[in-house]
Amino acid sequence: METEKKNERAVLVFCNWLVFGLIGLGFLLEGGSRENFLIGVIGIVGIIAGFVVHIIINHISSTGFTMGEVALGLALFAFGAVTFILSWIIGAMSLVAFQIGLLQLAILVIGFLAYVATRYGVAGAFRKFDVIGTSTSGKREP
């Protein structure tokens, strides 16, 4: 039954990202290709809606993000950031596309920080990433 519940949650997560992810991505690309900032912002709102629904699903199933989801999310974020930076460096991006990309990355970073801060507290969130100050046993050194 435990596996069944995990799968049910995963199905919901897939549905969420298939809808909001694809729509968000579509509007981001549309905004870039038409050089229309407003359409790009709709795409960003789509991606944010995807995150919000994902968090609601987590709340309903009393879980957090799984390791796989975090890994995939970070990988996609890194891929998006690298693509954005490379496109900017080689000058393959219009001004509007640049603005949309920058806004998207900024919102993702701020949203991520806000999420961990509200979930674990500011100090707790810092400790999650404080590799140097944390021993291998997971306890803070004196």
Binding site: V11, F14, L22
Partner: protein, 650 residues
């Protein structure tokens, strides 16, 4: 293949394939017991089942078929967009009792449900054959439809077989690997994709035509053309026309008379009476999702998508020569290929959701209801699954071959599926509600009903023509759909034979099943007057929505030819009429489901019997005499058909 215009579709299809195969693997890992393959161990979540039933009921048949039919036949056909209310009505009436009986007595196919209650094996065989009709005819038709759309998008007519077989190959992989559990998981994802595709298409229709008012201005311009009335674009063509049928005598003002709409609505009732929907239903661990699924997911959400979205897309295509969905997607190609790809994946999902379920159901029914009881009693579970997997592949290959090579045959076969499934209604009424209906009556009714369907539809007329018997009528004589003819003959037979065979038409377990159902019967409504009021409301709704009363919709909100100035609601009267009846219909489904307790789960828990009532297994050998007798029957029948067609055929 011309990949240029298809790059985004190809990319999204790869992502979709990865998701599908991921879930096939997950489900396969979870299928720890052998019988999990066909029924997911009856552990499917109720909400998944609710969403999946909705998706499979809508499928590519409504998403791809309805817009084109509205575009070519007008808003007379558009009345059937009330499918969001008509289709779930079957579920509201029959799902709960079917689930309760299947769970209590451990039945795993629709055929076993019928055989367990009525006795004998005949109804199970017919149910299995209808499942095969869905797997080959209905699925093949939808494979052809999606192949055609993708071919139009690729702008290369030679790509049709590639697309049909690509969709079929993906389908085969996940159904064969994970069985019903994969279908259950994926049906949710596919249903969400269907909703996205419908919403996306309607949004782009509105953008393309410049908004809802502009779309109606275009319709108004079309309504002023003299041909629009003759084509039946904006009105129902009378109550009935006593014509000889399509192919011989065309009805005046289009074929969509009120009676044609009523009888086609009956065909819509067939989808949730089909073995495939029962299969998904009885693989669910609880009946708690039925009421919410039928009321909110189907009637409210998808009902709205159909009545606004599908009708808008169809209306957009009225008066145009090109097929509506491909031309819409081609318009999107240049500017927004990513949105075109998103919608295309939604359309593929719409086809796969029904194909996967119908293939698995047919394979299971062939094994459990025909092969094992007649030819190989005691076949081990592991072998049943192996044979089932082989069956799935064979059925899919036949469907895909017919879709690729014989579009005419597949459209004739596909058209039979819904009217044929509707013929199971009397059996379901007998099983769930009325003890009066006997086995002999159901079997005879099925035979006569299916025969009536056959001789009033394309397939039967073509078969009889092949044998040299040219019928004096065409398809749908008197503008009555074959489903209507079939059900009329079926019910008449059932009533007469039941009256004759009272007291000897049920299995030994039937009284026990009847007592069990009585114990779990819906709680009586608080007010005594509620029951007659509910059934009066159902009849009134049917009369006004899809019965002769629908003709009031022609002018209720303005005359079609007057244009927006005369249209009270700013849209064609018939469209406004069905929107109004959709709202009333949602209320009706809610009332029946929740207030009449027809679909809410019983407060008494249903527990499975420790000793299921399946017939005892006599031996484990293949029954050679039966098999030889069957083969001889096939050989003789083929010989007779060949000789008759050679002597009399044209």
């Amino acid at each position: 293949m011309n990949l240029g215009p298809m790059t985004w579709v190809f990319l999204f299809f790869l992502i979709y394939s990865a998701i599908v195969l991921f879930w096939a693997r997950q489900a396969s890992a979870q299928n720890t017991r052998q019988f999990d393959f066909f029924t997911s161990g009856k552990s499917l979540s109720p909400w998944m089942s609710a969403v999946g039933v909705t998706g499979a009921s809508i499928s590519g048949w409504i998403v791809l078929g309805f817009p084109q039919s509205i575009a070519s036949q007008g808003l007379g056909f558009g009345v059937l967009a009330l499918a969001g209310i008509i289709v779930p009505l079957t579920g509201v009436l029959f799902f709960k009792a079917q689930w309760q009986i299947a769970t209590r007595y451990n039945f795993s196919t629709q055929g076993q449900l019928f055989n367990g209650y009525f006795g004998g094996r005949g109804i199970g065989v017919v149910s299995a054959l209808i499942a095969v009709l869905f797997a080959i005819g209905f699925s093949g038709l939808q494979l052809r439809a999606i192949g055609t759309v993708l071919t139009e998008l690729s702008e290369n007519q030679n790509d049709l077989p590639v697309f049909i077989w690509a969709v079929a190959a993906l389908l085969a992989s996940y159904v064969v690997i994970g069985g019903l559990r994969t279908i259950g998981y994926l049906s949710v994802i596919q249903t969400v994709l269907i909703a996205t595709a419908i919403a996306g298409m309607s949004l782009f229709v509105l953008i393309d035509s410049g908004g809802f008012s502009s779309l109606n201005m275009q319709l108004a311009a079309l309504a002023k053309e003299p041909d629009s009335i003759a084509n039946g674009y904006f009105q129902i063509a009378g109550v009935i026309q006593f014509t000889a049928g399509i192919g011989i005598e065309a009805p005046i003002g289009g074929q969509w008379t009120a009676v044609m709409i009523t009888s086609s609505a009956l065909a819509l009732l067939g989808i949730q009476a089909s073995p495939m929907i029962t299969q998904l239903l009885i693989s669910t661990r609880s009946s708690s999702g039925i009421a919410a699924g039928q009321t909110w997911v189907f009637s409210a959400v998808f009902g709205a998508l159909i009545i606004f979205g599908i009708v808008a897309v169809g209306s957009f295509g009225m008066g145009k020569e090109q097929a509506v969905i491909p031309s819409l997607l081609l318009d999107l190609s240049a500017q927004s290929p990513w949105f075109k790809a998103t919608i295309a994946i939604g359309l593929i999902a719409a086809v796969q959701v029904v194909c996967g379920l119908s293939l698995l159901t047919a394979a299971h029914a062939l094994i459990a209801d025909i092969y094992v009881p007649f030819y190989h009693k005691g076949l081990p579970q592991s072998d049943q699954i192996l044979y089932g997997r082989v069956c799935i592949l064979i059925l899919l290959i036949i469907a895909a071959l017919l879709a690729t090579l014989s579009p005419v045959a597949i459209s004739k076969l596909g058209a039979l599926a819904l009217p044929a499934a509707l013929q199971l209604w009397p059996a379901l009424i007998g099983l769930c509600w009325f003890q009066f209906i006997s086995r002999q009556a159901v079997v005879s009714g099925l035979m006569f009903g299916l025969f009536a369907v056959l001789v009033t539809d394309h397939a039967g007329i073509a078969i009889l023509g092949f044998l040299g018997l040219d019928l004096p009528w065409g398809r749908f004589p008197w503008t009555i759909h074959s489903a209507g003819w079939g059900l009329f003959v079926n019910l008449l037979t059932v009533l007469i034979i039941s009256a004759i065979t009272q007291g000897r038409g049920h299995s030994e377990q039937a009284p026990d099943i009847r007592n069990f159902l009585r114990k779990h019967a819906p709680a009586a409504p608080r007010s005594r007057g509620l029951k007659p009021a509910a059934w009066s409301a159902v009849l009134a709704w049917f009369f006004l929505a899809v019965g002769p009363g629908a003709i009031l919709g022609n002018q209720a909100f303005g005359v079609a030819a007057d244009g927006p100035d005369g249209w009270i609601t700013g849209m064609p009267s018939i469209w406004a009429w069905i929107m109004m009846l959709w709202v009333l219909g949602v209320f009706l489904i809610w009332f029946l489901s929740y207030k009449m307790n027809l679909a809410t789960s019983s407060p008494i828990a249903v527990t499975a019997l420790e000793q299921p009532i399946h017939p005892p297994i006599r031996d484990t050998k293949i029954q050679e005499p039966e098999l030889i007798r069957f083969l001889w029957t096939v050989v003789i029948a083929t010989a007779v058909i060949t000789v008759v067609s050679w002597v009399f055929g044209s």
